[in-house]
Structures are given as C-alpha cells and as structure tokens.
Symmetry: C2
Subunit: 157 residues, 2 copies
DNA sequence: AGTGAAAAACAATGGCG
DNA sequence: CGCCATTGTTTTTCACT
C-alpha cells in the first residue's frame, strides 16, 4: 500500500520513531495538531504499514550481550536449494540481527549479537560453516559502537 | 546500575522488544503475571536503563528510502583531532544508522540509509571523503534485506 | 482539512492476603 | 507476588465546523 504522506505525517513519524511512548496529546503539541487528529493519522499509518510496529529498545550490555560482529559470508555451490536453506536458517537464528545480500565480493552480510566471543565462535563453526551452501566466512568484531540507533532519516531529524 | 534479571524480567523484555504496544494486562497473560506486577517491573527496568526507550519501527520503502549501504572507512592520518572530527560528524549525520569501529583492516563500518544511489554518492563525495581523517571509502549496497529486525537474542540464545 | 468533549480503556498506586 | 479497588491519564469516537 502506498500512502501520500504530508508534512504532519512525516513529523509525526519522526517523533514516534524517536520516542514511541509519547501520548497523542504530546505528539499533538510537537506537530501542532489536536490529539484526536494524531490518533486518526496514527491509525492510518499503522494500517498502511508505514508504521510496522512498536519496539522497546534494550541495552545489550545490561543483558550480557557484549559482542557485536559483522560476518561476511560467501556461498560456494550456488544450488537453489542450498541457498534457500541458508536463508531460512539465517532468518531463524535469533543472534542474527540483520542479514543482507550485497553487491561486491561478499554474498551475505550478517550482523550478529552474542554474549561473548566463544558464543560467536560456536555460531560460526557449528551453524554457519556446516551449511552446504557456505563457502567462506569472515567476521569482524565491533570494538566500539559510536551509534546504533537505526533511526531513519526523515528530513527533520 | 546493574540489575539482577529473573525469568519474568527476561520474558517481559522479550515480549516488549517484539511489541511495545502490548498493554500490561496482555503482557501479564503472556508471562503469567498480574498487570500490576508487570507495571512495577517495567518501571524498574526503565529506571535501571535496561529499557532504553520505545521506538516506532518504520518501513523505509514507504518513506522513499530505497538504498541501504554498508560503508567501510579507513582513516589515514591518525591525528586525534581529525579522528574526533570524523566521529562527531558521523554521529551527527541522520543518514548514518550505525557506526562501529572494527577489528581487521577497516577502521569504521557505517550503515547508511538514503533515498537513492545519487544521495549515497553525494554523502560519500561531499561529506565523507572531504574529511581530512578519511583515507579510503568502500561501499557495498544491500540488494536485498532478508532480516532487519535488530531484536536482541533473549532466552533463546 | 480541522476541533473539542464525552465515553471507554488503560496505567499506576496502595492495601491486604 | 496475586488480587482488588481507586485515581488519574490517555485513547478513541462522535458531533460539529
């Protein structure tokens, strides 16, 4: 579904992606609209899928998740079946936060978050590498994260 | 502040990061706890910083953001001042969703989301490369995103 | 397009077992 | 920690412009 977004919508979305705990009244103040209109627009944006959902942003450290890694994967035998199995596995792995196919020499880029380096090693050796489709894996550990907000750029950010 | 998380907390956090729109009563049903207890635990987790905040997850396509890229950056002259400037710029750029320092041959890995390839090219040529600290930039475009949820692995790890 | 107010739903406390 | 009641807030719907 494609929706035409006006200035109010964009400002509303920007505010909500920054802080979804804002009440409709507070949002109304920010974007100069009444609470009832905010409610109506919000419902529309949710129904249209522009707003996919609401999430609590958690602190990985507090949960003992100290290692973030970017793992580049190249596939070997490009059989459709093996590739499909690889994709399904990746989608099902909770440690994989993101998975993309890339241009360039890498086939897949995974972002993985785990408790420690041992857990990362286990994932690579026991889950990734045994896959028939997987030819090579190369991982880089994030030493420091400057920014992690994953906020989309919406004009007024 | 470090907090001891029990099984209820972990389940609560897992449910909330998946869907922060759930009411306390609904959460209580999921984790087998009364709504009032859910409310109390939630406040504690928010205060302790385990819950950093609440965010609306938006659909990039619906907002005209069609290009996701991973940009590897190597710094040249490692003067402290230049590196500091680079870091501040990156933090301030709304198109940069994530920025990490990495092990391996790359100094920085940026995840960038923009409307189109032209916008990406503009960012690289007009913002990144003119920085004194920046020696080399290498970008990979995400052709397909299999997974993008950025949900932390809780319990199932 | 928008507003404002009433009704319904919900959150947050406190007391008690 | 469950349960219940209360109070205050918030959302949503309706009438209206």
């Amino acid at each position: 579904m494609t929706v035409a977004l006006d200035g109010f919508d964009v400002k509303l979305l920007a505010a909500l992606q920054d802080n979804a705990a804002l009440t409709n009244a507070e949002l109304g103040e920010i974007i100069s609209l009444s609470a009832s209109q905010v409610s109506r627009r919000r419902s529309k944006l949710e129904e249209a899928g522009v707003i996919r959902g609401y999430r609590a942003a958690l602190d990985p450290e507090a949960l003992g998740l100290t290692v973030t890694a970017f793992v580049g994967v190249t596939l070997g035998a490009h059989s459709k079946e093996n590739a499909r199995k690889f994709r399904n596995m990746v989608k099902a792995m909770p440690e994989v936060q993101e998975a993309h196919t890339l241009t360039g020499d890498l086939d897949y880029m995974l972002k993985i978050v785990v408790a420690d380096l041992k857990a990362l090693s286990n994932i690579i050796n026991d889950e990734l590498l045994p896959q028939e489709a997987v030819h090579h894996v190369r991982s880089s550990i994030a030493m420091e994260t400057l920014k992690d907000d994953n906020l989309l750029p919406l004009g007024s950010s």
